[in-house]
């Protein structure tokens, strides 16, 4: 939805400081963002209108129950103390306190559910990038011919498809009718990967409109630049031009685009888990929401956000390292 992938201006990398100063500044900036993320997560519970405890225990909770909940959530302390407790929890246990429902640490809870979600994210990312690159290459190499028109209509149509609805249709078609894939739940080992095929297609599908639209523009940009004409003039076989030059030049923006869109991909994954009944972080989120288990919700929010920041930082560093243009005149 808020994929501003197309916002990524394809005007090449901004002139980055050639020295390692840039590297240090970018890392410091990401660190500050992580700190802000922690503060945002801390205040998450405060946006609840009224008393969170009453909201958790319901209207008819006895004053004593409310009192003990306040204590459990630490709401009876002053804001400063609460923040200190939040930070100490974070740095000692590395999580946002214990679950109200089960009492064990959020880190453990999330760690249990993480593998299947991470696998789903990995599979859908690979799928999304491969398909998007394929479609973008097809569209840009036959500009204004039928593949291009078809691929240009594709984002317009699929942009309005809610990810859960796509999931439902895929379940209906492949799961129920054709029985190719198991419906719901995630098996073990290879079984797990197999059962994640349909969900990862769904998540990848939700990323398509932005990725295809931006990559097609990116590839056209490269294909129409002068150095491609120089290579064609030197009669380099077009296959070589495409793979050795065009795709390489399109690879960097693709990497950046993936970094920018990562948070939408994770969001999509959480929803798809709910549709396909996969016991990952997504379903943990929904169950914590239904039992109003605030610390776990905060934990999920924190880990997702920190993961996004770290991966985006890595993506930016890799693309800076790969791109000679940022090395400046030496």
């Amino acid at each position: 939805m808020m994929n501003e992938g197309q916002v990524l201006n394809a005007s090449g990398p901004k002139k980055r400081g050639s020295s390692y100063r840039w590297l240090f500044i970018t890392a410091a900036r990401s660190f500050i963002v992580i700190v802000c993320v922690m503060i945002a997560v801390f205040f998450l519970i405060r946006i609840v209108p009224g008393d969170p405890a009453k909201m958790i225990l319901g209207e008819y909770a006895t004053p004593e129950a409310l009192e003990s909940m306040h204590h459990a959530l630490g709401l009876d302390l002053s804001l400063g103390e609460q923040f200190l407790r939040f930070l100490s929890n974070l740095f000692t246990q590395g999580d946002t306190g214990n679950s109200i429902v089960s009492g064990n640490s959020t880190r453990v809870l999330i760690a249990e559910r993480a593998p299947v979600t991470l696998l789903l994210i990995a599979m859908s990312s690979v799928l999304a990038i491969v398909i998007a690159l394929l479609l973008a290459t097809l569209a840009s190499t036959n500009k204004n011919k039928w593949p291009d028109h078809l691929i240009r209509i594709f984002p317009t149509v699929t942009m309005g498809m809610p990810v859960f609805w796509v999931g439902l249709l895929l379940i209906l078609l492949f799961g129920v009718r054709l029985r190719w894939f198991p419906v719901g739940g995630a098996g073990e080992g290879w079984g797990m990967a197999y059962s994640l095929i349909l969900p990862s297609i769904t998540v990848a599908f939700s990323q398509m409109p932005t990725l295809v639209r931006s990559l097609r523009a990116q590839m056209l940009d490269v294909l129409e630049s002068d150095f491609i004409v120089t290579l064609k003039a030197a009669q380099i076989p077009s296959r070589v031009i495409l793979f050795k030059h065009v795709l390489r030049n399109a690879a960097l923006p693709t990497l950046m685009l993936f970094g920018v869109n990562l948070s939408y991909l994770i969001g999509g994954t959480l929803v798809v888990e709910q549709v396909f009944g996969i016991k990952g972080i997504g379903s943990l989120l929904f169950s914590s929401i239904s039992n109003r288990d605030f610390p776990v919700i905060q934990g999920i929010a924190l880990y997702c956000a920190v993961a996004v920041v770290i991966i985006s930082l890595l993506v930016e560093i890799v693309s800076w390292w790969l791109d000679p243009r940022t090395k400046g005149k030496s």
């Binding site: 900036r29 859960f164 994770i266 956000a305």
Partner: protein
């Protein structure tokens, strides 16, 4: 020295007359506008068009396939699906439009501010955007919707918090490139103040791209509203909403697949219409 007249000084170019002609000549934009018009007209005229009350249950006629009386069949409580679908359009589309207004304005303003002044203003605004963008959008939407109580309020609050970011980023990018343009430099040498340059010179050049992004962003918001409805933390029944209709129809997916399919198609239809308008506007302004 004879005066050299502008090379096509034939008829004077009225701004409005020219734009109308150009819209008609732009099929994508025209297509999008027509599709939207049909939807809005249907939403307004539905009480006249359909004899059925969206929430009137008729247990004798439940789960009927699409037929002459019920164009899209009926749901598990015998309510006419087509009527509910269009009433749901009223709710979803109004929220979609209302929830975009404030984020659009704040986003464009902050983006211009960050792009034009740069330095510390830019850093602060970019820091805030990076923090919010780090949270997966659906994660925030779900948590805030839950925290602020289901229903429209949750959607509005979420979108006030997060909705302005994409506009801020787009506007900032455009403003930064506009600042290098020489007509901005000549406005500066004239001594115009920053605020005046931003609003009189930069804003008219930033709005077109911001509006194009608004179209695609609205599609995203609509999908978010519908997703929340599906997850049961969005618009609370009995107000009709595409999302809840899809989740209601889910249990009958094998027998009455159209119950879940139709609301989804309605979202897709609106999505197509809005992105056609967005693409059309982008072509229109790119040629200017």
């Amino acid at each position: 020295m004879k005066t050299i007249s502008a090379h096509n000084l034939t008829g004077p170019s009225r701004k409005s007359q020219g734009t109308l002609r150009r819209i008609l000549k732009n099929p994508t934009l025209l297509g999008g506008i027509i599709m939207l018009a049909i939807l809005v007209l249907l939403a307004i005229l539905i009480p006249v068009i359909s004899p059925y009350d969206p929430s009137a249950q008729d247990l004798r006629a439940f789960l009927q396939p699409p037929s002459a009386e019920h164009w899209l069949g009926t749901d598990q409580l015998g309510r006419d699906l087509f009527t509910r679908l269009i009433y749901a359009a009223r709710t979803d589309l109004t929220i979609m439009v209302l929830a975009e207004i404030i984020p659009f304005c704040t986003g464009v303003f902050l983006g211009m501010l960050a792009g034009y002044y740069g330095k510390w203003i830019d850093n602060i605004i970019s820091l805030v955007t990076d923090t919010f963008v780090a949270f997966p959008f659906y994660l925030i939407v779900i948590i805030v919707a839950f925290a602020s109580g289901a229903g429209q309020r949750g959607i509005f609050i979420t979108f006030m918090l997060v909705g302005w970011i994409v506009f801020a980023r787009v506007t900032r990018g455009v403003t930064v490139s506009l600042r290098q343009q020489e007509w901005v430099a000549s406005a500066q040498t004239l001594g115009l103040s920053g605020i005046r340059i931003m609003f009189r010179h930069i804003l008219p050049n930033v709005l077109p791209q911001a509006v194009v992004v608004l179209m695609t962003d609205m599609v995203g918001l609509l999908v978010a509203i519908v997703t929340l409805g599906y997850l049961g933390i969005g618009i609370a029944p009995p107000t009709p909403d595409w999302g809840t209709m899809i989740s209601d129809g889910q249990s009958f997916i094998t027998t009455a697949w159209w119950l879940s399919a139709m609301p989804g198609l309605a979202v897709v239809y609106t999505g197509i219409a809005l992105s056609l308008v967005g693409d059309g506007l982008a072509d229109l302004w790119r040629r200017r």
